[in-house]
Symmetry: C2
Subunit: 490 residues, 2 copies
């Protein structure tokens, strides 16, 4: 059993395959605040088997969930593969059965029609349930304490009829609801989408079906007190592409972007679509509304950010066009035109935006993100991130003052997506910590770093050694211990 | 929770604490013979908690068992702590309760009288059972497939009355019996010993109680077709030492060594003791008899090999006196005197002798061992083994020709104890492989190496990367898959 010797499977991106429990991570420097009581869950694509084809993109690997449990100043680690249907079928076979990313035409005949999800994109806790998510398939439920897979195709007790569920659901701290959606919801490459409200008890309490202007990768979304916001960006796909053996998605610079605004108390007919010239945006920092004016904040690049989803017209990938900067998209539901106003919020180049999640849907002052600081030296040829960039810096943007604060991790390391950890007992925005995994590329090892969230440039307040390399991951979240208490699991 | 910053807990000796399953270890070079079907089990001391005192010796850590499963050219890894009584009690408490190595006077009051064993010294399969062993306590049974602890204090269905069971039982390939013993068998520091025969069905079929000339560390023994051989070497201990807070054992160069020979079909009265001037020997390569002449082959040093068990008269540790060379001790059960004749078998300096276990108890031609090659450069200050030596070379001694063959692992690595793996289908002595863990001290990583057993100097035929550091271990064994088949577990 040999993995390809391609960049997707080599060096720091080599598959890990380690399922583990480690009761105490060694503290290298600093101190873990003793009052932190909760877990940082994250997930990484980690292929169980070599691909059927000679290569595959990094984020088609099987979801491997890591939990860092903070308690009494100690941090333990658990890591388990999600037992998706795909994982179980392939383990039984002893080799890969599912083919290329989002292309069922490349699958082994024996698995035609099976759920292809890898559950490798995000891990989210709501109503005491741990959801492992991939946007092309239903949620997978895991036990938040043991990481055992409980349901490989959860349908909310029959209430979810969408074929898919986003990997970026949002929890509204004001209502306790989880807001979510499915795209390609009635089948691969369909324009059908559904918006779901999941009530604090974990049940679907509302659904709105609609269609997007064109089929594309609907990776994330936003919500405000009164609206839900969907950005349509031309990472397009089609059955024709799949039949031609092309990557599922490609970047079609000929298409405009759109912003769909759905009133939270409305139905599909209340939705309004706005437009702007082509650009690229994937992850959403936050959104908020002032009356009927809706603000939607995203790292935005002029051109394609995903080299593995190439330009549909064959234009070569252009790193300078892939540089994303935090940008506010503003629309007014009462406006006569359908234009989107765009305002640059900060000059930091980067992605993976995060906020103090207690301010999700409201006007937030602080945003954290990974930053690609091109002025810094890079000592390794293979020091790339998923997007081909070197995320070498942790950044904080203060939207009130416009000031930024950054911490450069050094010439031979990069960073994975950060998450915000509130300081126990404090409700002040930004009062807390940032937890982030450092990829020590020269050593092929990883560390877990904890920063004072508002003092990034002071460096980590605690540095933990990890006993094995954390393959580059996608998303993760901090979950207070209280949110996992039996009473929370209604 | 912080471990001491002493050499016993730092660098490559830092606790690991990783319980893991890894389905496929990456092959770095060479090829795993596809017909190898079996498991290499090994165990390492790996403390769950920092010691009560400010330091502790390396081999008082909790037993962490690793299984490398070879099948169809793939090698998977499992690693689990043995759930000893000590482990369970301490996990419940959240900190150490048991104190210094073999000194119950240093324990927390709450665990007085509890079994102190760590099961950290050897893992042996016999009659389908996996035994995890520490010489100061009863065997622990583990599931050989899952590494789940099945019985933390196995007594052979009530037949074992000794308080202890050796970590070096021997399996007689001729009879299928497991031969074993207990020392300090009627209590700590007692001279009482018992010899056990465990039949191929796993039941105790014979026991012989006797006393040794003085209480000492009876770490290993030998057997031949007709005899069992016990070497008494002055690594002495006493309650006075424990009360004084000294290490359990010390080296008393004033005492002679003894060799006790027990006929396998005899009783205590048939035992005969032989003597020689003081020296040091711990592990046994093999033994055999020609009529009443008994040969017993051990790496032997003129002086103390264990710096952590210091000289009882305060003499400083002398590395040159700790240099062990393979030596044959020969006695004749019909001799008029009680002298032991000693013959140097090879000039290689080292320890951890192994043989092709199909020749245990018979005259073997080949012996493998770790070698400390002082002519080689060492690039790391902390590159020590348990005995303070740098085991940097794998060695083979051909006892027929007197020739040796060695492989130097390089200036920044050391090796753990090797094990012999028979080539499937072949019964010729030495026809097979040597499996050994490489400690890559500069990188703090480990690899699993497979050598052609009779061509060590050709270098590894396969090199596997391990995803996390293997803390230095003690002993391990290769077990054919067939030996774990349900039919074998009678």
């Amino acid at each position: 059993m040999q993995f390809p010797k391609t960049p997707n499977y080599s060096g720091y991106f080599a598959p890990s395959g380690v399922e583990a429990e480690v009761p105490c991570l060694p503290l290298i420097e600093g101190e873990i605040p003793a009052d932190l009581d909760g877990s940082f869950y994250r997930v990484a694509p980690d292929p169980q088997f070599p691909p059927i084809a000679s290569d595959d993109i990094w984020f088609n690997g099987d979801g491997m969930v890591t939990r860092f449990r903070f308690h009494n100043g100690n941090v333990s680690l658990q890591q388990r593969w999600v037992r998706t249907d795909k994982f179980r079928l392939e383990r039984e076979a002893g080799h890969a059965l599912f083919g290329a990313y989002r292309n069922p035409l490349t699958d082994d005949d024996s698995v035609k029609g099976k759920i292809r999800g890898t559950a490798n994109t995000n891990v989210v806790v709501h109503a005491g349930k741990l959801y492992a998510l991939k946007e092309d398939s239903p949620p997978v439920l895991m036990d938040p304490e043991t990481l055992e897979t409980l349901d490989s195709s959860y349908d909310f007790n029959g209430r979810m009829t969408s074929e898919t569920f986003t990997a970026h659901p949002k929890i509204d701290p004001r209502t306790g609801e989880m807001l979510a959606f499915g795209y390609a919801a009635k089948g691969l490459c369909t324009r059908d989408m559904v918006f779901y409200v999941i009530n604090p008890q974990g049940e679907i309490s509302k659904e709105v079906w609609f269609q997007i202007p064109y089929y594309c990768m609907m990776h994330d979304f936003g919500f405000t007190e009164d609206y839900v916001v969907f950005h349509v960006v031309p990472i397009i796909g089609s059955w024709e592409r799949l039949e031609a053996g092309l990557p599922h998605f490609g970047f079609d610079r000929g298409k405009p972007v759109h912003l769909g605004i759905l009133p939270r108390d409305g139905e599909a007919g209340d939705m309004r679509w706005f437009s702007a010239p082509t650009c690229f945006a994937s992850h959403v920092m936050n959104a908020h509304n002032e009356g009927t004016t809706v603000h939607f904040d995203v790292p935005m690049a002029p051109g394609n950010m995903f080299p593995f989803f190439p330009d549909t017209e064959g234009q070569p990938f252009e790193p300078r066009e892939a540089a994303a900067r935090m940008t506010r998209w503003t629309v007014d539901m009462r406006a006569n035109d359908d234009d989107i106003a765009m305002t640059r919020l900060a000059d930091l180049v980067g992605e993976f935006p995060r906020i103090d999640d207690r301010f999700a849907g409201a006007k937030n002052r602080y945003g954290w993100q990974l930053v690609q600081d091109m002025t810094r030296p890079v000592d390794l040829p293979n020091a790339r991130s998923a997007s081909g960039m070197m995320m070498n810096t942790l950044g904080l943007v203060d939207l009130e003052t416009g000031k930024t604060d950054t911490y450069w991790i050094g010439p031979v390391s990069s960073l994975q997506e950060p998450a915000f950890v509130p300081r126990p007992g404090s409700s002040r925005e930004g009062d807390g910590y940032i937890v982030v995994i450092e990829n020590r590329l020269a050593e092929m090892t990883s560390r877990l770093l904890l920063f004072d969230a508002l003092k990034l440039s002071d460096g980590p307040v605690a540095t933990l050694g990890l006993p094995f390399r954390m393959r580059p991951g996608l998303h993760g979240n901090w979950v207070e211990a209280a949110a996992l208490a039996p009473a929370a699991a209604l």
